[in-house]
Symmetry: C2
Subunit: 259 residues, 2 copies
């Protein structure tokens, strides 16, 4: 089993410190190039490769969620696997430590090499961690299907090629497990990122948002996500929410399906 920090999903990061109040300051005006593989073993181990999250089907994940044996992130992964196909283009809006990026890569990768995962994170260390994890976990051919960018998730439209139908945009909102907990995603850019995701996701696709609410500001961010989800027109979107009721700080899963 990976250590607990590795089982926690990757979370998006946005510097809240005074020198970085605007995440866009950290993003160059031109579109950044995908990062090369940067060996970095922080928070990583070979046990990552046997991540049990990759395996659970929807029944196992949902019944496990209901009976307290599986986490919301496992429900999310299982639903993704039912919707994403080999060769798809998908987006990891919040790479964190790379668990979701890796899981998404395995969903889209096949011998045709058509699948693409566009991954981003405002925090350089998250991109480093993700790249290092992928370097350990997959071969060079598969790694090339992943394009990583150190960029705020609100700017995803700058890096996903126009005209590429996007099947899934995945968010993990909160702070980076094992990282600086003062660096968290914040409502304003999350709202912009959700709007961007709703523009690029294709018909039949999904926006998946796992909101961690146990930290300061977590509830505010959930409010923004719920407000956005409830504003989507019912004729073109299905917005649903899975949550624990007797664990007030348990993460909440919001799934937005474009009809």
């Amino acid at each position: 089993m990976p250590p607990p920090s590795l089982l926690r999903p990757p979370l998006s990061l946005l510097l809240r410190r005074p020198q970085n109040l605007s995440p866009l300051r950290r993003v160059p005006s031109s579109i950044p190039s995908p990062l090369l593989v940067l060996p970095n073993r922080r928070h990583l181990s070979a046990a990552h490769l046997a991540d049990p999250l990759v395996a659970a089907g929807v029944e196992e994940a949902v019944v496990g969620f209901v009976t307290g044996k599986r986490k919301a992130t496992e429900v999310a992964h299982a639903v993704w696997r039912s919707i994403v196909r080999k060769g798809d283009t998908v987006v990891d809006a919040t790479c964190g430590n790379g668990n979701d990026t890796f899981a998404l890569l395995k969903m889209v990768s096949d011998e045709t090499g058509r699948g693409r995962v566009y991954g981003m994170d405002i925090q350089d260390s998250a991109i480093d961690n993700t790249s290092s994890f992928l370097n350990m976990a997959v071969d060079t051919h598969e790694k090339e299907l992943v394009k990583l960018f150190s960029i705020c998730h609100s700017r995803m439209e700058d890096i996903v090629p126009k005209g590429s139908p996007v099947r899934l945009v995945a968010f993990n909102l909160g702070y980076l497990p094992g990282g600086d907990k003062t660096i968290i995603t914040v409502p304003k850019t999350t709202e912009l990122a959700l709007q961007a995701a709703s523009r690029i996701v294709s018909s039949g696709g999904l926006i998946s948002v796992l909101v961690y609410i146990g930290h300061l500001g977590g509830r505010d961010e959930l409010d923004i996500v719920e407000s956005f989800a409830s504003s989507l027109p019912v004729d073109t979107w299905v917005s649903c929410k899975f949550e624990m009721v007797n664990r007030p700080v348990a993460p909440v899963l919001v799934l937005l399906h474009k009809k």
Copy 2:
């Protein structure tokens, strides 16, 4: 396909009219006997027998729910099927037109004849409908496994034999489809019924509550259910909720698992 009224799940009933403000007035002081089969074809058709709700697995139901193709009641049925075993004792706290009673019977019935479904509804016509539906849908042997009572759901402990481990208690809260919409379940007895259910459900069992909120008083009832669910101790209960976010009157599914 059954007519739309038959696809809507059965709902519990509690007279709100002045002469019936207290549901207990309608219940005899002694425990009523299970009703015999009462032929009644209101709201029933042979199409009931091919009810598609019986078939969906958890993956189909949950992914269908997320993509707008399946209803919350189908998610509930699919989760029940993952938890309920042949030979189990289960409770339909709100028989309505009998859809859930029938589905539950199919989950517990086998050649040993050990399974039992205890069904109740405060409204006589709902018990009539359920009994008639079962009379059409199952053979005499299976029908005998169902015990129907015209009683308020808050009194379920009066009819389920003491010492019988109960795997599932199912609620549909709202009004009877095709019936008098002024007759609805109300928060006070629903709260008592949930308390009773929590006492009789066994370890590893489930309380399933589908709350219809599109009618007057529906939101108040959801508040009571959520309040009850959130009050359950986290060391012995898992309380979770599935809901639509951009359809404010869509039913909400609350599942309470006893560890």
